[in-house]
């Protein structure tokens, strides 16, 4: 029997990309995606179930579909995307329900993969240059996003302790850049402005979006319990990120730079979320040796990820075009997937 995989956040960038990647794998028998909205990417055989962001119906779905792998991509890592209360609902309560469903007696789940972020390490002056997975953060938790991700990870840790027969993998991803992903950083770079703090030029790491998907795939295919950092090789100064992407640095005052965040956003569409302050002051580096030792190979370095973004951005600027928006049409999709009228196994 092939693998039966459940993906959370099918309507988000990562859920969609992950579903597409799994569809290409013949050994994956069934893919089920949960989302609060319709999927935004064309999918061929992924089943879509609409749910609320807290996943209250999840345990029924898990029991009914007998999934063996859960890929939890639906963790919000951008605090500007949703209000604080919703952030908590999505990250903490959503994960809580997900884990409850996965650990319920009679559940067929054997593997849980959680997409977390290196935001859990924070960024402070006393940090080591490279965080290992077992290191704890040195600074206090200052932002809602970090607090919620730390809470999620502690839930996952407890879950892994309580269910030693399950393979629980947490992947902590560095800041992502790439051809398509929109993050506060890429949003700014597309507008050719990169906020920085005057007098600080920290070293940062990036991971390319393809490597993110490949790392998630890798985690679903290998027995790799525990926490893994995922980031491209090397580090580069913040100013170099701007220079590669052809953006200008916008210096904010060293004292209370966040006071300028809201006016900046209002006036120029420059995003400066709270969790970015520590990063652009002290930078962050994570040690990726553990995942490498497990057999994962990166295709991009940190600088390579920035270049990948810059190349795609150059193309966007040159042609002025974006990929056409995909619209999910419930009835059409259902027809193609389930109607006996459709002859399967031929290329259409």
């Amino acid at each position: 029997m092939g693998r039966r995989v459940l993906i959370t956040g099918l309507d988000t960038f990562w859920g969609g990309r992950m579903a597409q990647a799994l569809e290409a794998k013949p050994d994956v028998e069934m893919i089920l995606g949960l989302g609060t909205k319709e999927p935004r990417v064309p999918l061929e055989r992924t089943e879509f179930v609409r749910s609320d962001q807290k996943y209250s119906i999840l345990s029924r779905i898990v029991r009914a579909t007998q999934v063996d792998t859960i890929v939890h991509t639906f963790l919000e890592t951008n605090s500007l995307a949703v209000p604080g209360r919703v952030l908590h609902e999505i990250n903490v309560i959503g994960t809580l329900n997900l884990l409850a469903a996965a650990g319920a007696s009679g559940a067929s789940v054997r593997k849980v993969v959680v997409k977390s972020s290196t935001h859990v390490y924070g960024a402070a002056e006393q940090d080591p240059a490279w965080f290992r997975e077992e290191d704890t953060r040195t600074g206090p938790v200052r932002t809602k996003l970090e607090r919620s991700l730390i809470e999620v990870e502690s839930l996952v840790r407890d879950f892994a302790d309580d269910n030693p027969h399950l393979d629980v993998t947490v992947l902590r991803f560095a800041n992502v850049l790439g051809t398509d992903i929109v993050t506060p950083i890429s949003h700014n770079l597309r507008r050719r402005v990169l906020p920085c703090i005057a007098g600080f030029d920290p070293l940062v790491q990036f991971v390319e979006e393809d490597d993110v998907v490949r790392a998630l795939e890798f985690a679903t295919e290998h027995r790799a319990s525990g926490v893994f950092n995922v980031a491209g090789d090397g580090k580069l100064p913040w100013s170099e990120v701007a220079s590669i992407a052809g953006a200008h640095l916008l210096p904010l005052p060293p004292l209370r730079p966040r006071l300028f965040a809201a006016p900046l956003d209002r006036l120029g569409g420059v995003r400066f979320p709270p969790e970015m302050e520590g990063l652009v002051r002290y930078g962050r580096g994570v040690d990726t040796e553990r995942l490498r030792r497990a057999g994962f190979e990166y295709r991009y370095t940190s600088a390579g990820a920035v270049h990948s973004f810059a190349r795609a951005n150059n193309l966007r600027r040159a042609t002025g075009s974006t990929t056409p928006e995909y619209r999910y049409e419930q009835d059409v999709e259902q027809f193609f997937r389930h109607s006996p009228a459709v002859v399967r196994g031929i290329d259409t």
């Binding site: 100064p237 190979e297 990948s308 150059n314």
Partner: protein, 324 residues
């Protein structure tokens, strides 16, 4: 902002080739960066245990970089500019004189330690400059993370070879990269001491530097510095100001009493003499998580005593603060 440049429709026949060329170019570099091998076989028995070591991963760091800032923040380019600016100071102001510089190895990791002095210590740049110009290899100066919090200063410090003193950072520099690291085991206790305590070595922390050298399997090379104490001596400290400004200490230096605020950027032209002591290796197994506390403290104390003796020797031979 997206549609920069003339608004031509992307479907225009003249543009198509161009666009395809751009797309090809954009994707070509991704493609030739080694297609990853299939991670699993076609028929998956449930989850194979991952044991494969990756063969030479595609490193393309240099090709993609625009600056020479390394992973510690040091830039050789910036360093060479600073060396050129600092050289006259080194040669003609402090007239730095080395003894036993050949004891510092030309390759392989080593932990340099030295005594520390002066409100804004002049010994660190002198040692780093001397070793880099004479041996032609970089020195990473480990110092209090406090520097990182200062705008401008922190970045400059990092670009010129400063690294926050974290045991993990020191281990990577010494063991993984086999580079030279410079630490001042006394820390700020030494730089904050007043002139009345000159050349009296403070406690060597908790001997952390010995433990790191043991773990990294590298020698400790002590350097005794004479002259830095007189370059910017502290007359007294004001703790209230330090607290208000969140500084580790606020010194009133002899320089500032003579020259006013200018005194905080002007050193007295004391003659610098540096003597490198014999490298100390520890007969322990490297790479352990923990080492015997008493052994570590004993070694640290022995090194401290030998440095103190050397300093006294050098001071006995010195006839003048300014001319050596």
């Amino acid at each position: 902002m997206e549609a920069a440049g003339p608004a031509r429709s992307p479907g225009h026949p003249d543009d198509r080739d161009l666009i395809e060329a751009i797309v090809e170019q954009a994707t070509a570099e991704v493609d030739d960066s080694a297609t990853p091998p299939e991670l699993t076989g076609a028929s998956v028995s449930y989850l194979p245990v991952a044991t494969r070591r990756p063969e030479a991963a595609p490193h393309r760091v240099d090709e993609a970089r625009r600056s020479d800032v390394d992973e510690w923040g040091r830039s050789e380019h910036m360093r060479s500019i600073v060396r050129r600016l600092y050289d006259p100071m080194y040669r003609y102001w402090f007239r730095v004189e080395w003894e036993g510089l050949e004891k510092i190895p030309a390759e392989g990791g080593a932990l340099l330690i030295a005594n520390h002095a002066g409100a804004i210590p002049a010994d660190a740049p002198a040692i780093m400059h001397g070793v880099e110009t004479e041996l032609g290899r970089p020195v990473y100066g480990l110092a209090d993370y406090f520097f990182r919090t200062l705008p401008g200063v922190g970045t400059m410090w990092s670009r010129t070879g400063g690294v926050p003193a974290h045991p993990d950072n020191a281990y990577r520099i010494l063991h993984d990269q086999q580079q030279l690291a410079l630490v001042f085991p006394e820390g700020t206790k030494a730089t904050s001491k007043t002139y009345t305590d000159r050349y009296r070595l403070r406690r060597f922390g908790r001997g952390g530097f010995v433990e790191i050298a043991m773990r990294a399997g590298v020698p400790v090379i002590p350097i005794a510095v004479v002259g830095a104490e007189e370059a910017m001596p502290i007359v007294f400290r004001i703790s209230g100001v330090a607290k208000a400004l969140k500084l580790p200490y606020f010194p009133v230096t002899a320089n500032s009493l003579l020259l006013g605020p200018l005194g905080y950027v002007t050193y007295f032209p004391a003659k610098f003499k540096l003597r490198v002591l014999d490298p100390i290796t520890f007969d322990v197994e490297p790479g352990l998580e923990r080492y015997s506390r008493s052994r570590v403290m004993d070694e640290a104390e022995r090194i401290r005593a030998s440095m103190q003796d050397t300093l006294h020797d050098m001071l006995r031979e010195r006839r003048s603060v300014w001319f050596g």
